[in-house]
């Protein structure tokens, strides 16, 4: 009953998720159109609009942020549907009896049949009426045993067929659930990529505004070719003012903190819980910092803890190299996160700790690379 209720609930969830996905699709498609229609001539006018481009760029940036959020929500919903679909296929039990059990029955019957045959032979054609009655009775018993033996064999065959069919179906089921899982993972990655792109688009529109005003960013070129540094720490195209902009309160350029960061695939550095992946996005506006960290950690085998951690943080830059901000996790735990520029311009060290929550990661320390 519980199983049937569970299956029913999962089915309802899948149907609901499909309905939500349809709404989500329409939402992101609408947001996409709004973005594309917001200012189609923005890039074309970038060389001539000057400072006036900033307001236009901000408007378009707001639209792309909406689109990215709607697209992410859609992909997350799709991922949920894939997860629920895979989970709705539960394994079916194999045959109930061990083969020995049916073999025992067959052996017992064969033995009884053999004993009956011996008895019949012992009586033989003895003319005694009573013995002949007994012989007839034993013969009937032997017939019953013969028919029973055949029925046992038939059932053995049927059980073997059912076991093979169950195993074949189970293999097919596992293939399907694995496929759902891989689709869910692909959608999760697409969702994360959408978040990264949303951040990159925001940076792009700021860079475009600066470029239109004749300024260009300082610091190293981004690792991946995608500009992720903010407009802070910029200098004019004219090389005269070499110092960082007055908006920076830090000892190092803000580009050492601001932008999108990720946990490297190789040469990882961490202390404590080992991350599987980490995505960190740091924004700055008028000295105020906001950011999000999303990570998955490798837990010891058998651990029932939650490997996922997500928190938002905010605060203002301090006059120092290490920057500390207040954070709040997705389940409401408070804590702090320190961002420390790494040994190279495209590296940052993250050190966080949160209030203890059962089964949750509460502290970590690792090095991230700029995207």
């Amino acid at each position: 009953m519980k199983r049937a209720t569970y299956i029913l609930m999962v089915s309802i969830l899948i149907v609901a998720a499909c309905a939500l996905a349809q709404e989500g699709r329409e939402a992101y498609q609408g947001a996409f159109r709004s973005w594309r229609q917001a200012d189609p001539g923005l890039e074309r006018d970038a060389a001539t609009a000057g400072a006036a481009l900033e307001a236009r760029a901000q408007k378009v940036a707001a639209e792309i942020a909406k689109y990215a959020a709607a697209r992410k929500a859609f992909l997350d919903s799709e991922q949920g549907t894939m997860d629920a679909s895979g989970r709705s296929l539960e394994a079916v039990a194999a045959a109930a009896e061990a083969p020995e059990s049916t073999r025992n029955s067959e052996l017992n019957v064969a033995t009884a049949s053999s004993a009956a045959t011996s008895s019949i032979e012992a009586i033989g054609s003895d003319p005694d009426r009573g013995l002949q009655q007994l012989r007839q009775s034993i013969e009937r018993e032997r017939v019953a045993l013969t028919v029973l033996s055949s029925a046992i064999r038939d059932r053995q065959t049927a059980i073997a067929t059912a076991t093979r069919a169950t195993e074949a179906a189970e293999q097919a089921r596992m293939k399907v659930t694995d496929h759902y899982q891989s689709l869910a993972t692909a959608l999760q990655q697409a969702s994360q990529e959408t978040v990264r792109q949303g951040s990159a688009w925001a940076d792009y529109y700021r860079t475009l505004s600066d470029g239109a005003r004749g300024v260009q960013p300082a610091g190293a070129a981004p690792v991946t070719g995608v500009v992720t540094g903010g407009v802070t720490g910029v200098r004019p195209a004219n090389p005269a003012p070499a110092a960082p902009s007055g908006r920076s309160a830090t000892l190092v350029p803000l580009s050492r903190y601001v932008g999108a960061w990720t946990y490297p695939v190789r040469n990882t550095l961490f202390h404590g819980a080992e991350p599987e992946f980490v995505d960190l996005v740091v924004h700055e506006e008028n000295g105020q910092v906001t950011g999000t960290l999303y990570a998955r950690f490798k837990l010891p085998s058998g651990s029932s803890g939650d490997p996922i951690l997500r928190f938002d943080f905010m605060g203002s830059f301090q006059n120092g190299r290490s920057q500390s901000f207040s954070l709040e996790t997705s389940d409401g735990a408070k804590g702090t996160v320190d961002l420390i520029p790494g040994p190279a311009v495209n590296l940052i060290e993250v050190n966080f700790s949160t209030e203890a929550r059962p089964g949750k990661i509460r502290q970590g320390n690792f090095l991230l690379v700029k995207k």
Partner: protein, 266 residues
């Protein structure tokens, strides 16, 4: 007829000795059977995914095994017309029925789980078929975004030629264009993967239907075996009756004892 009766009277002792010999032979045969059963009945079914029903099957099978293994030993110690002979056979028969009932309950539950999964597969297949058009929309949307970003890149390239400070934005947009192209390729991959999933679901549907048929056949075979066991125990009772009748022609048939049978728990 009188001659026949007289002959029976003269040969009464011989008949009784013969019956005794026969009885010993039959019992030796059954003792041999018991030894074989004791060796064979070592392993019991492993607990499966339906633990409580599987445990019940194990329990009923063990009860039946024990009674069946001891039946001939119990009967061997009794006189042919002892009512406990009939009681012992009936007790094993009831234990056999209880085992068949437990097995039937188990297979019914397996069948129900199989049907539930088959229904889930049918629903998922319908869902995936319905999403075929949406998958194309996903790819179209991603491609649309890629084309749009490329158009932006073209426009910005023109502007950057006139204003060099836009070079950084151009590089950034180039990176975004590459990301969009990757996203479009991934959306296409997801679409192809979903099409393969539909085929796998169809394979699973066929396998689940084959399994359901096999389970139903196993249940039919179980019912048939249950009937045959009942038939065997009836014939075993009939033999006990015959043994009583021929050793005690004028006596009563072995009636069932009044004590309740142990095997009847349901």
């Amino acid at each position: 007829m009188r001659h026949r009766l007289g002959r029976l009277g003269q040969e009464g002792l011989t008949w009784k000795v013969g019956f005794l010999k026969l009885s010993i032979m039959v019992r030796i045969g059954f003792l041999w059977m018991l030894a074989a059963m004791a060796v064979a009945a070592q392993d019991k079914p492993a607990a499966g995914p339906l633990p409580s029903l599987q445990q019940n099957v194990d329990k009923r099978t063990t009860e039946w095994d024990t009674l069946a293994n001891n039946l001939e030993v119990r009967i061997g110690r009794l006189l042919p017309c002892d009512p406990r002979v009939r009681g012992a056979v009936e007790e094993v028969s009831r234990a056999s029925e209880a085992r068949i009932v437990a097995l039937t309950e188990y297979w019914l539950a397996v069948s129900a789980a199989s049907k539930t999964q088959t229904e889930a597969v049918r629903r998922l297949l319908a869902q995936e078929d319905a999403r075929a058009a949406e998958r194309k929309t996903d790819q179209t949307d991603a491609e649309q975004e890629r084309v749009a970003v490329n158009a932006q890149l073209t426009d910005l390239g023109e502007s950057a030629r006139r204003l060099p400070s836009l070079a950084a934005a151009q590089r950034a947009l180039d990176g975004l264009a590459q990301s969009s192209a990757r996203a479009a390729a991934q959306a296409a991959e997801r679409g192809q993967s979903a099409e393969r999933l539909s085929q796998e679901l169809r394979d699973l549907q066929a396998a689940a239907q084959a399994r359901q048929t096999a389970i139903e056949n196993a249940m039919k075979a179980l019912a048939a075996e249950g009937l045959r066991w009942s038939g065997y125990y009836s014939s075993r009772l009939a033999r006990a009756q015959t043994e009583c009748t021929i050793t005690n022609p004028g006596g009563a048939a072995p009636a069932a004892p009044r004590t309740p049978a142990q095997g009847k728990k349901k």
